[in-house]
Amino acid sequence: MILKGRHLIDQNDLSLEELDQVLALAEKMVDDRDAYSKVCDGKILGTLFYEPSTRTRLSFESAMLRMGGSVLGFSDASASSVAKGESIADTIRVAGVYADAVVMRHPKEGAPKLASQFSPVPVINGGDGGHQHPTQTLTDLLTIRRLKGRLDNLKVAFCGDLKFGRTVHSLVSTLAKLPNIQFVFISPDELKFPKHMKEHLIETYDIEVIETQDLESVIDDLDILYMTRIQKERFFNEADYVRLKDSYILERSKLKTAKQDMLIMHPLPRVNEISYDVDDDNRAVYFQQAEFGVYVRMALIALLLGVDTDVKGE
């Protein structure tokens, strides 16, 4: 289980054992962050963000800086050589000279995979279109493991945009491999979880899948409610977006029948789908989730770089 030098393009690039390795290190970092403050001394993380994503970019930058490393890159492709027409292959070959590892966010699906085929250093997929967002999945898994104490025996509901929501697709495909997981998919008809993915879940893992449009009818039996934003940028038609954007709004009043230890998660940013009056409910963990994102990225970067994380005794 050596992760040094590897790429992380798809969450399935990690076996369950490797996933456990990343999460276990992240938990150690949560417990004693200062102990890891120098493990990436002298290392550089390249951040190639071809589309805006302040949250993910800052999370990666924070992770590297908290381990004593440095960061360079761009957050707007129009201000880089990309605007001159440079290919991804050339950009990554050069970035791989400047940095020890690279995180790439790109609007086109499969772009980080392409980058990994030309990169001399580890490439981390920081999100590619509606396809994959593996470090969000790691973040979600760390949140669940840390706050529920387990990653199995869970009834997990996803609510909102289940068609274009890459965070949903990634998390579902990983949770499906774990024992006794049930899924509830809550969405408007137009944004349903993709049929071929649902069939794959049922055929491969024999998992129970419930589909509904009604959040309140299922909320009382959930261990996790994962809310998602209806993403304007994924629609080709503005009218469809306007019609669907407020399909689900989680208000405090709707939580009355929910379990007291249910987790309300959200990959953020939120718009209307969770009311502010939910924020101070103990079950609302989405800001903690963002914090866990830094730790899990710290662990991942450290393991892909192969730095010494044995900080016992410090």
Partner: protein, 143 residues
């Protein structure tokens, strides 16, 4: 009845589904050939009632992957001295590179010159579904 002579040395692509013969003819660029080529359409067949056949009076490389994508029942016979000396098996290809495009309009393979679209077979039943190596979208090859 239409009579077409057998060939002395060359290739016979047989058991082509009706209507696909002319498409294979185009894909193999046989219209540019400077040797005898015959396309037979709607020929009687014991197996499927009707079929198309292509006879090529020349030995040339035939893209078996392309034929496999169309129909795995197609047969390719290599002829020499008026006899079949080899029967090539056409199979549904497990991996396909550069034969068709990913249907996902957001896939990098439709935008970047460095990318050759690559697919893996994920479904063999009624229709062939191929998963894109880059974006995982499922695409069906239609000739």
């Amino acid at each position: 009845m239409l009579k077409v002579n057998s060939i002395n040395r060359g290739i016979v692509i047989d058991h082509i589904p009706v209507g696909k013969g002319i498409k294979i003819f185009d894909k193999l660029k046989l219209n540019e050939a400077d040797f005898p080529v015959v396309l037979l359409m709607n020929v009687s067949s014991n197996i499927s009632q009707k079929k198309d056949i292509i006879k090529i009076e020349n030995v040339m490389d035939i893209d078996l992957t392309l034929l496999g994508l169309i129909d795995s029942n197609i047969t390719v016979n290599i002829i020499d001295d008026n006899k079949i000396i080899e029967k090539k098996k056409v199979e549904i290809p497990g991996d396909v590179t550069g034969m068709f495009k990913c249907k996902n309009s957001r896939c990098i393979s439709n935008f970047d010159d460095y990318v050759t679209p690559k697919f893996k077979l994920v479904h063999k039943n009624s229709k062939l579904l191929y998963s894109c190596e880059y974006c995982d979208e499922l695409t069906t090859y239609v000739l």
